[in-house]
């Protein structure tokens, strides 16, 4: 009985020590997030244990938007950010509109940040397929998409065009 108690006490003390180390590593990341580059353990902590920080200045400073226009019977429509329009539309499911917008931003960012041409082409094709699934473009002869980034850069407000792509819908 005494041996069992000793084993449990050692086990318990080890867990207490593990918690103390856990807190210490997390504090290092919280105080100095850039130290996570030093070792894989700290990198793991940055990614899974000390989540965030959310809403960092670079992330809230600018946002990617996809402006889409369609050509029907030779006439081009006004470029519109349909993803944001759908979120504001009270007649559509807000949850679905938000998820679709998140996916659209994900694809647009994939095109913007792909280092390899093959990855860029793949993301661009998925963006085309995604637009083709939408009912509003069913009668379009051609679709034009312009990716813009709106926000603040060095404290100055502005809009940058990131890429433009036009394709035939049929």
């Amino acid at each position: 009985m005494r041996d069992r108690r000793t084993i449990f006490s050692v086990f318990g003390t080890l867990i207490c020590l593990a918690i103390a180390v856990h807190v210490l590593l997390a504090l290092i990341i919280i105080i100095s997030p850039e130290t996570s580059r030093v070792s894989p353990a700290l990198k793991f902590y940055r990614r899974f244990v000390v989540l965030g920080p959310f809403f960092q200045q670079p992330r809230i400073g600018s946002k990617s938007h996809l402006m889409v226009s369609q050509q029907v019977n030779g006439t081009w429509s006004v470029p519109t950010d349909y993803a944001c329009e759908d979120v504001a539309n009270p007649h559509l499911s807000k949850n679905l509109a938000l998820q679709r917008r998140a996916f659209e931003v994900f694809l647009t960012e994939s095109v913007n940040h792909s280092r390899r041409e093959a990855d860029r082409t793949r993301a661009l094709n998925e963006l085309k397929m995604y637009l083709r699934t939408q009912e509003r473009f069913r009668n379009a002869d051609s679709i034009n998409m312009v990716s813009i980034r709106r926000g603040f850069s060095d404290g100055v407000a502005g809009v940058d065009t990131v890429f433009q792509f036009r394709f035939r819908n049929r």
């Binding site: 449990f8 919280i30 400073g61 938007h65 699934t133 709106r150």
Partner: protein
Amino acid sequence: MNVQQKVGAVVEAALRRPLQPLSTLVFYRALTAAVLLRVLLAWRSQAMIAGVHEFRIPDGRISGPLLWPARFAAHHPHAFFLAVVVFLLVHLFLRCNYITAILFSLLAFNLLIFTIPSGDGGDVLTFMLSLWAIFLIPAKSKSGLRPQTLLYNAARIGCMLQFVFLYAASGADKIKSNVWTTGKAFDYMRYAGGMLNPDFPSFLATPLWDFAFSWSAILLETLFGVLIWFRSCQPTLIFMAIAFHLGIWWMMDLGDFSRIMIVAVLIFIRDDQYAGMFRPALLSA
């Protein structure tokens, strides 16, 4: 009593008595319900995404079997979601054990991978909480020294720390950010577009309110991790954290993230507080 004796006393207590079992049970059920809701709300959009997006899910010796459900979901989203809903309903109403808890965590990990194209930080938090929750299974026997009880208590502390670290990291970042301390963060988000709820009332979008919201977030996030361990501060902080996340939900349309954060806060409510909350209702029934 020296330090060694004090540690010994803490360890002995942690081996004998599971901390706040009612609170843990409510937290675990709420976590399962939140994942169920996440799945139901993501079903339609994820099925659409699976139709156009080519998922690149690792298929190595370890990742292969672990991520098999996510690969299956990429090709058969409806079958995957149906199976997940059935499992979660069973998990929600039946008594948990280690096997179902491990399956639940595995499911949360696969959902995290499968929903990357439309997900947010809430999915990572869900997975991490589900990972800790594997050990949140109370021992069947309530007497004697139990290593299972020790693991349960450590996991409960792990869940609490997960939340505290998240707040502390966000608070520390905001305090270092000029945009947040001046209250201009919301101005930035409004200009960038696509981040704030278009239905959020315009009378709450003034510099004064922006400043008040910014500093409410900074103060809550930085002080929570320090004050939550004091009994007298707990009810106020829990109430403020829930109100804060309901506010984020309304202002920024971040329903999934806010829901899981509110669920995570539940672990800080003590058993006696639950009893205090529900006793009047039970007595009047």
